[in-house]
C-alpha cells in the first residue's frame, strides 16, 4: 500500500491536511463566538439580578464584574458579540446571493476581524467612561 506510486494527481482535501481559507475560518468562528457571548451575558445578568436583590449581593457582583477577571470576560464576550454580529450580517448577505466569490469572502473576513476588534474596543471605552 505504501509503495503505490501516487504520481502528482490531486488528493482529496481531507480536513486534517487541508489548510482552511480565511473565509472558512471566520465562518467556523461564527459558531464559537456565538457561544463566547454567554460568559459576559451571564455576568451582566448576575449583576442585574444582584442590583434588584440587596446591597450585599450587588457589592459582590459589582466587585467581580469590575475585577481584572470580570473585565477580561467582558472584553472577550464583547469581542465575540461584535464578531458574531458582523459574521451574522455576512450570512444574511450570502443568503441574498451576493458576496460568494472567493476574493469577496476574503475581503469580508478581514472586515469582520478588524471591525469586531474596533467595535469591542469602542464598547469597552463606553463601559469605562
Amino acid at each position: 500500500m505504501a509503495d503505490v506510486p501516487r504520481g502528482n494527481r490531486p488528493l482529496s482535501p481531507h480536513l486534517q491536511v487541508y489548510r482552511l481559507p480565511l473565509t472558512a475560518i471566520t465562518s467556523i468562528m461564527t459558531r464559537g463566538t456565538g457561544q463566547g457571548i454567554l460568559p459576559g451575558l451571564l455576568l451582566v445578568v448576575w449583576w442585574l439580578v444582584a442590583a434588584g436583590t440587596s446591597d450585599a449581593a450587588f457589592a459582590t457582583a459589582d466587585w467581580f464584574l469590575r475585577s481584572w477577571l470580570g473585565w477580561l470576560i467582558l472584553l472577550g464576550s464583547t469581542w465575540s458579540l461584535w464578531f458574531h454580529f458582523l459574521a451574522g450580517l455576512r450570512h444574511l448577505w450570502y443568503d441574498s446571493g451576493r458576496g460568494l466569490e472567493i476574493d469577496q469572502g476574503r475581503t469580508l473576513s478581514i472586515v469582520i476581524i478588524v471591525g469586531s476588534v474596533v467595535l469591542a474596543l469602542l464598547t469597552v471605552i463606553l463601559m469605562l467612561v
Binding site: 459558531r31 456565538g34 457561544q35 457571548i37 454567554l38 451575558l41 451571564l42 451582566v44 445578568v45 449583576w47 442585574l48 439580578v49 442590583a51 434588584g52 436583590t53 440587596s54 446591597d55 450587588f58 457589592a59 459589582d62 464584574l65 469590575r66 467582558l74 464583547t78 458579540l81 454580529f85 451574522g88 450580517l89 450570512h91 444574511l92 443568503d95 464598547t123 463606553l126 463601559m127 469605562l128
Partner: protein, 141 residues
C-alpha cells in the same frame, strides 16, 4: 406566472421537512438582533460602573429596560436554536437528548432570571432611587 416565493417553494423539502423554517427563523431573529445589539451595548455599557441606586435608576428607564428584555429573550431563543444545530453536528445518541434538554433549561433560565431582575428593578427597588430632576417647564405664549 405563479405567486410562490422561493422560500415557499423550498419549505417542507428535505428528510426532516423543518430546515427551511429553522433557517428562516435564524435569519429573522438575526435581523432583529442586529438592530438590538448596538442598543443593548449602549443600554448596558452606560450602566457599568454606576452604584446600585444608579443601576436601579438606569434600568428603571423604558429604553434600558425594554432593550435589555428584548435582547435577552430574542437572543436566548436564537442561542437555543443555534446550539441545537451544533448539537446535531457534534453530539450523537443518548448524550444528544441530554444536551438538548440542558440547552433548553439553560436558555430559558437566563431569560427568566433577566425578566425577574428587570421586574425587581422596575417595580420593587428596595433602594432609594434618585430621580433626575425634571427639565424646567417653559411656557411660551
Amino acid at each position: 406566472m405563479h405567486f410562490y416565493t422561493p422560500r415557499k417553494l423550498a419549505a417542507g423539502l428535505g428528510s426532516g421537512h423543518g430546515a427551511t423554517a429553522a433557517h428562516w427563523f435564524m435569519s429573522v431573529s438575526g435581523i432583529g438582533l442586529a438592530i438590538l445589539t448596538p442598543l443593548f451595548v449602549i443600554a448596558v455599557g452606560g450602566a457599568i460602573g454606576l452604584d446600585r441606586a444608579g443601576v436601579v435608576a438606569h434600568f428603571g428607564r423604558p429604553f434600558a429596560a425594554v432593550v435589555t428584555g428584548l435582547f435577552v429573550v430574542v437572543g436566548m431563543i436564537h442561542w437555543i436554536r443555534g446550539t441545537f444545530v451544533m448539537i446535531d453536528d457534534y453530539v450523537q445518541g443518548g448524550p444528544r437528548a441530554w444536551a438538548q434538554i440542558l440547552t433548553q433549561l439553560f436558555g430559558w433560565a437566563v431569560v427568566a432570571l433577566t425578566l425577574f431582575a428587570l421586574a425587581r428593578v422596575l417595580l420593587a427597588p428596595d433602594v432609594a432611587v434618585v430621580v433626575p430632576a425634571a427639565a424646567p417647564v417653559v411656557i411660551v405664549n
